[in-house]
Amino acid sequence: MREESSPGFDRFERFLEEWSRRDFLKTVSIGTAYAFFLAGGVAALEACGNPGTQGQTSATPQTGGTLVEGWSTEPSYLLPVRSSDVYSNIANRLLFEGLLTVDDKGNLQPNFAQKMPDVSSDGLTYTFKLRNDIKWSDGSPLTPDDVVFTYELYYDPKYDGLLGNRRPTAKRYIKSATAQGDSIILQATTVFAPFLLNYGADVPIVPKKVLSGKTGVQLNTDDFNAGPPISNGKFKFQSWAKGDKLVLARNDLYFRGRVNLAGWIYKKVPDAVAVLQQLKTGEIDVGRLDFSSYDEARAQPNLNVLTFPTFGFDEYIYQLDPGKPGGQLFQDKSVRQALAYGLDRKALVQAAYFGQAVLAASVIPSVSWAYNKDVKPNYSYDTKKAGDLLDAAGWKLGSTGIREKGGQKLSFEMVTNADNSTRVKNLEIMQEQWKKIGVEAQIRNLANLGLLSDSLTSSRQFALMFIGFSLQPFGEPDQSMIWHSRATAVGGNNGGLFKNAAVDKLLDDGVATLDRSKRKDIYVQLQSIMADELPSNIICYPKGIYGVNKRVHNYNLGTFWLYGFGNPLFMKDVWVEPKK
């Protein structure tokens, strides 16, 4: 860039020489005082806040206004079948709805169907009668052809190549979808208890006239994903500035009547800290909160904080394949159980979740109808028992403080995704607690959730992984996609390669009958075996925590009315006061 030092550079150097030829005593003290002011003064100011005015309470819903939701990850695909993540579903379920829906207790209700479907005696055929008053946002009627076309996107082999996480299972269970007059007939391949929840309530209908004639591969990148021209839900698409905000406008032709809100915006916010910040300043109206923000959010005068139990559970998975790293160590059930006894999960929930999670006792979340609270064994914190189990298994304390057996140390690597601070904290706590019983657990974090999922579903190169699941449909206790041996195939979620014939049978039987009491018995048995075998240790069921600005009314997010599944009925009644 410069053959020899350019004059400007010389100048610069000379300037550097003159920089500090002064007595800096005063200046240093001024500088330091000023830095302290920055830090301490601001903290003091923050602390003595004056509450300010509350939002006016007004009982009558107003129409109009826009709701802004802030999320740290933005949606990917607005074509429902293409999406694989909950963020896309938050948006696309507001645009498209299905034949059925669920109420706030998790019970199925008719939506586009006139009434609940007739089910044949063998449990394989579901006949829906379509309402005749459903319109697309451009005024054209939604016909049985649209419905059949949508289902074909999920199960028909001619759309192979279409990506998204619904197709693999849909192909297993949906045999066919046909239209007869104003009826739609869905044929299941086998008796499948969650069929209606999965394929009645959670298949949003998309327009045939816009999407037909394209192949699966073309649909992957079709413009529909970034902006569907028509919709049948509460809102219709308006604009999407990627990386910034997705804007939806009220759909006046929604069959239940116009919703109160005139607009809805999905705003991309940098991270969880910024979500709380923007909730405080009112830049966003709704945002999911980190556990650590709970107390602070509750103290905000302009926010309501919603907390409710969810169907999610956080756990760590043992690698059970002896060919994978650490797999040898966990072959022995008593080692797995000992590590569970050696973990103070109560303290962990308090420290990592700030108390906003329910201590887990079984593989099935406590809000489920299939939950058995008396599952044994119950892994309460007992370091003596942990030590005894390990001793009995041959793992004796070595000179380094770490247990050894046959010259091998009880040492392994734990992995989770670095961008989730709660999970990272969990690992740090687990590391310290297991140190006390002579186990050396090292932490290795992957950069993001995508890499973690890849490791779980494909490479399986982990000894112990900390991960969370939130199984859908909500309220459906089936967990085949995590524990069944067929889920050990590449792409399945059985990353620990757990294979147990008894568990397989129970999982299969559990969905093969539609009788709820029979199913409950099966799941009770399942929970006992899982607690004993312990392929993974369920830590807790995290609660959902959402900050909602006080100007927003009827925002009834809940255990069953949560994002990513079905379509939230409550959105119709949400209304906002005008911003000041």
């Binding site: 100048r11 800096f24 330091t32 190549g161 990386g243 405080k280």
Partner: protein, 324 residues
């Protein structure tokens, strides 16, 4: 002659450009190999899909072919394709560039506008309490981490002010989500990030202006001008300033990479939708082609900026074009 100087400068830049593209290519290949996130391990993809997408991304070719494609692509403005969704990198860069330029240029402007009077004041009242105070502030500005300053400002101007019912500044983004976009709104969003970004350079530049001015003020021709009764203000702003503007320009040019780097951190703190924030998020998502494409683009911008600064310098200071 100015023309020959300009031509020489441009010619000298060319190997640098080539060097930059080579380095970024090497880093890309070394760090990523041909691993494509979401592609290699997506079980829904059929083998023929994988082959097709790999071909689209160009990762199935031998290394030298890929390098040649990379370099010729850049000449056409093709900075590769994202590994996450296959979209062209340049489209992303182009959409995010205005925001970063707005932030960086405002910061430079702010820095210059504040540091000149500050430096001159310090020079005029050399050795006084004011001077020491200014020096102290600028020294402190040198040592405060940028992200910390940003967080403190947000705490003060967004959260606390709002709490007290005073007019407050928005805590992030380029414009308000609802009803934004008007100049006042844009300005309100720009103030804090630009201030934080310029803060560090403010301290450096004001010191520079100060010492440069001091140097001029001690020259004989200034004594003469003063003796002839020229008002002090003219002396300062016409003669002294002119002397320091020129190297200040070069200084800014030297600082360009630092400014762009600083912009990244500021963009992350304030959620400013620019190139830096995009590169950061994409790096975390392992979208290496996007990150390296952006890096190459920014490096080329920096080279261009330096070139312009040097030429400006040559225009303003005739001694340069005639040397060697």
């Amino acid at each position: 002659m100015l023309a020959t100087y300009a031509v020489r400068r441009v010619l000298v830049s060319i190997p640098v450009v080539i060097g930059v593209t080579t380095v970024t290519f090497l880093v890309m290949k070394v760090t990523a190999g041909t691993y494509v996130p979401g592609l290699d391990l997506d079980p829904n993809l059929r083998p023929e899909d994988v082959v097709r997408i790999r071909h689209q991304l160009g990762v199935d070719q031998p290394l030298y072919v890929q390098y040649w494609q990379w370099v010729t692509g850049i000449a056409h403005g093709d900075f590769g394709r994202s590994m996450l969704d296959g979209t062209p990198v340049f489209a992303h860069i182009w959409s995010r560039l205005p925001a970063t330029l707005e932030l960086t240029l405002t910061a430079i402007l702010l820095g210059v506008v504040i540091s000149i009077p500050l430096g001159v004041a310090g020079a005029r009242q050399w050795g006084s309490r004011l001077d020491h105070m200014l020096t102290g502030i600028s020294v402190a500005g040198f040592a405060v981490p940028q992200f910390w300053l940003g967080l403190m400002l947000i705490l003060l101007f967004s959260v606390s002010l709002k709490r007290w019912g005073l007019p407050w500044l928005p805590s992030g983004g380029q414009e308000s989500t609802i009803g934004g976009g008007d100049p006042l709104d844009l300005l309100a969003h720009l103030v804090m990030p630009a201030t934080v970004l310029s803060f560090f350079y403010l301290s450096v530049w004001s010191r520079f202006v100060r010492s440069s001015t001091l140097e001029v003020l001690s020259q004989d021709y200034v004594r003469t001008a003063r003796a002839k009764g020229m008002p002090e203000r003219r002396v300062l702003y016409v003669h002294a300033l002119r002397n320091s503007i020129v190297p200040l320009v070069t200084l800014i040019g030297l600082e360009l990479p630092g400014l762009v780097a600083g912009a990244l951190v500021v963009e992350v703190v304030f959620g400013w939708p620019g190139l830096g924030l995009m590169a950061y998020e994409r790096a975390k998502a392992y979208d290496f082609t996007m990150v390296m494409g952006t890096t190459t683009f920014v490096a080329l911008l920096v080279i261009l900026g330096n070139l312009v600064a040097d030429l400006l310098y040559a225009v303003l200071d005739p001694r340069i074009r005639y040397s060697s």
